[in-house]
């Protein structure tokens, strides 16, 4: 082997070549590039001005907003309301503790080699709701009670999404098993339940929960608005969850079912010990995706009068003391949601790729 090692030709002019290939190949691409570039240049400047250069950041009332740009003073001033709603100031540490625990349980999930992250995750799913159940409403262990009508803001959004997903998981699993059952009646009931909930918009479900639920219950039994919304969300979400889990059950090869039967396991052992652990692991990305969808959909509760984070903002932008701060408020909420949803979706994509390669031979 005596041939000289040659370099690829034209290597020196790489950036120029890259631009010619990726931006200016042919007249159509050139026009497209120039058009998009023009739009970018003309829009980024004014946007930057509005966001930062002409914006006001410090101050304590509307008069501080003198610039032509955004009035971030507004967000600053009302931030407490946007995060905690009417939760009493001196008790907000309880909510903060929950935020902290939530972060401790789930942020490590993004870090590949974090020690014991699996246990933190399990705590997040099973332990956290218990802690929250005592901590947030109070009323026991000497904690002062806080009515649910005082909850609001980002905290309420998280409560709705979190409980919605945790409570719908077991119902969804049962429904998925029911839909794949060999008993026609069980299967029929599951199919009807799933398909009806999936067909109707969440908002009709919420209306139904807030208007009809009181009618369904025996006289004298009264449940508060938040609980009604949660029941509606959970039922609705469990139908979607069932379809996700069913996807996982279908992906388990027949041999696994047969092998479990051959070991002499009964139905529940077969499902609980062999099939579900595999299926659930496989559908984690799917569950995460439905969580993202639910998280965005929780904003709908403002229509039935609950103050989630969008609700708190919506109720303050119409406050006459602040003029024209709607955009600032929406940008703030959009940013909150975007950070959560984008982060989580990245996580689920990563997981999907990992699980994918794990299953290929």
């Amino acid at each position: 082997m005596t041939e000289p090692t040659m370099k690829a030709p034209r290597k020196a002019v790489r950036p120029v070549k890259w631009m010619r290939e990726n931006l200016f190949s042919g007249w159509f691409n050139t026009v497209l590039t120039l058009g998009v570039a023009y739009l970018l240049v003309t829009s980024v400047g004014p946007l930057l001005n509005w966001f930062f250069l002409d914006a006001n950041f410090v101050g304590s009332d509307p008069s501080a907003c003198t610039g032509a740009g955004a009035c971030w003073v507004f967000i600053n001033q009302r931030l407490n309301f946007f995060i905690y709603g009417f939760y009493p100031d001196e008790l907000q540490w309880r909510v903060n503790v929950m935020f902290l625990l939530l972060a401790v349980a789930f942020v490590p999930q993004f870090i590949e080699r974090f020690p014991g992250r699996k246990w933190l995750g399990i705590f997040g799913i099973f332990g956290l709701p218990v802690v929250g159940y005592f901590l947030i409403p109070g009323g026991s262990f000497g904690l002062e009670a806080v009515e649910s009508s005082k909850w609001g803001g980002l905290m309420l959004t998280l409560v709705l999404a979190y409980i919605g997903i945790i409570a719908s998981l077991p119902i969804g699993i049962l429904l998925a098993l029911g839909r794949r059952s060999e008993m026609p009646i069980i299967r029929g009931i599951s199919v009807v339940f799933i398909e009806v909930w999936r067909a109707v918009p969440l908002i009709t479900v919420l209306f139904m929960a807030s208007v009809m639920l009181p009618l369904f219950l025996p006289e004298g039994v009264n449940i508060e608005k938040l609980a009604r919304a949660l029941i509606g969300i959970t039922l609705w979400q469990s139908a979607y969850m069932a379809e996700v889990v069913r996807g996982g059950l279908q992906a388990i090869p027949r041999g696994q079912y047969e092998a479990a039967s051959a070991l002499g396991l009964g139905y529940w052992r077969r499902m609980g010990l062999v099939i579900l652990p595999q299926a659930l692991k496989m559908v984690i990305p799917g569950i995460v995706n439905t969580f993202i969808a639910l998280f965005k959909d929780t904003t709908l509760v403002l229509i039935i009068g609950l103050l989630d984070v969008l609700g708190t903002v919506q109720s303050t932008v119409s406050d006459p003391t602040w003029q024209n701060v709607a955009t600032e408020g929406y940008v703030f909420v959009a940013f909150c949601f975007w950070v959560f949803c984008f982060g989580i979706s990245r996580y689920s994509q990563k997981l999907e790729r990992k699980l994918d390669t794990g299953h290929k031979t």
Partner: protein, 395 residues
């Protein structure tokens, strides 16, 4: 020696250990539970309604509604019945859904293809669009367009004015309304003629290609006919069309066609939001066609355009259509967010105002849910037919 009994089959198990008996037993329990639950709910509801003095039944649909609706496609005024409010709401829902489906599809396909563009800048922008839009709640986007953008437009007196025929203000977008005059039938005739001609040309071109192999530029010729024939017939008929221009009368505009800001905000937000999902579907559909397919097509000498048309698109569409229809269903369901900004769709009018005024919660909720259930069943029926057709073709 003991005698073997041979008259019986395998000994049956004790009933409790017989899977068939067990299965029947469980199913009986399930039915009993469902019926019991249903009975409790119905019983509670009836006694609750009785104690609140709410009558049952659908008689309320014939009573006078007595409230106004800001937009109606079917004739409506406050003297009409509650039943009529249902149709007003339903047509408004269908209108905004149809508009959304069309624009979301066009936009979604453009962005999905842009995402795969060899142009780096275009591909990046498409990615940014998708990742920003689909991670922000739809309701927030509707609010943004309605409260932050459309509501901040100038008042009617300071309308944005495009050539004196098109006005945009915080009450809506005002367009001139076409008013066909006598003789417009000729133009309709011209349009029909052009369509018939195009169909005819397509069929002839196809036949000729099959017979002689010659490819006729049916698309370009057809387009030319579609433009040319109606224009000529319009001129021949003496331009029988007048425009009903919007005019400022007092505090607001009159005449022409109005797109109210509620409709516009909902339409824009639904289109942009759904487009971001459709774009991802289109992208993954195109990517699902393996590289070997395009290579084989190129190796057969088919140029790029034909490869796309004959090999890539037919295969990609099979992957695209099922999730695409479920996006359409989502769009129809999401149109119910109209109620948050006051666009009079089915939920806002019927489940909102009508329910509040009549108190007939059970009936109204049942009717509304039945509508969505019907739409969803129709869509899944279509999906099943489509899937079966594709399955037959491939198997």
């Amino acid at each position: 020696m003991k005698q073997q009994r041979i008259d019986a089959g395998p000994a049956g198990p004790v009933p409790w250990y017989d899977p068939r008996v067990r299965s029947l037993f469980f199913q009986a329990i399930a039915i009993a539970l469902v019926f019991w639950g249903g009975w409790v709910l119905v019983d509670n509801t009836l006694s609750n309604m009785e104690s609140r003095g709410i009558s049952t039944g659908f008689g309320f649909l014939n009573k006078t509604a007595g409230f106004g609706i800001i937009m109606n496609l079917v004739p409506y005024d406050a003297t009409m019945s509650y039943g009529r409010t249902f149709w007003v709401g339903l047509t408004n829902t269908l209108l905004v859904s149809a508009m959304g489906v069309v624009t979301a599809t066009i936009l979604g396909f453009i962005i999905g293809v842009a995402r795969l563009s060899s142009n780096w800048l275009v591909a990046r922008m498409a990615l940014v669009y998708i990742e920003v839009i689909r991670n922000i709640p739809l309701l927030l986007q509707i609010f943004f367009w309605y409260f932050a953008v459309l509501r901040n437009l100038p008042s009617p007196r300071q309308s944005l004015d495009v050539g004196g025929i098109l006005f945009l203000n915080n009450r809506g977008l005002y367009l001139p309304g076409p008013m066909p005059q006598e003789g417009f039938g000729i133009v309709w005739g011209g349009i029909l003629l052009a369509i018939a001609a195009v169909v005819g040309i397509r069929i002839r071109a196809r036949k000729r290609q099959l017979a002689t192999g010659q490819i006729f530029p049916a698309f370009r010729v057809g387009l030319a006919i579609l433009v040319f024939v109606p224009v000529v017939s319009f001129l021949v008929a003496g331009r029988p069309l007048e425009w009903d221009l919007p005019v400022l009368r007092g505090f607001n505009f009159g005449g022409g066609i109005t797109i109210i800001p509620e409709l516009a905000a909902l339409w824009i937000a639904l289109s942009l939001y759904t487009a971001s999902f459709i774009a991802e579907i289109v992208r993954s559909g195109i990517l699902s066609v393996s590289k070997g397919q395009t290579e084989a097509s190129r190796a057969l000498g088919l140029p790029n355009g034909l490869t796309l048309r004959l090999v890539v698109i037919p295969q990609a569409m099979r992957v695209i259509i099922p999730p695409l229809t479920s996006q359409y269903l989502n769009l129809v369901k999401n149109s119910s967010l109209a109620t948050a900004i006051g666009y009079p769709d089915l939920v806002a009018v019927f489940m909102g105002t009508t329910l509040n005024q009549t108190g007939q919660a059970v009936e109204v909720v049942a009717i509304t849910m039945a509508v969505y259930l019907t739409i969803s069943l129709l869509i899944s029926l279509f999906m099943n037919i489509y899937n079966r057709a594709v399955a037959i073709k491939e198997r």
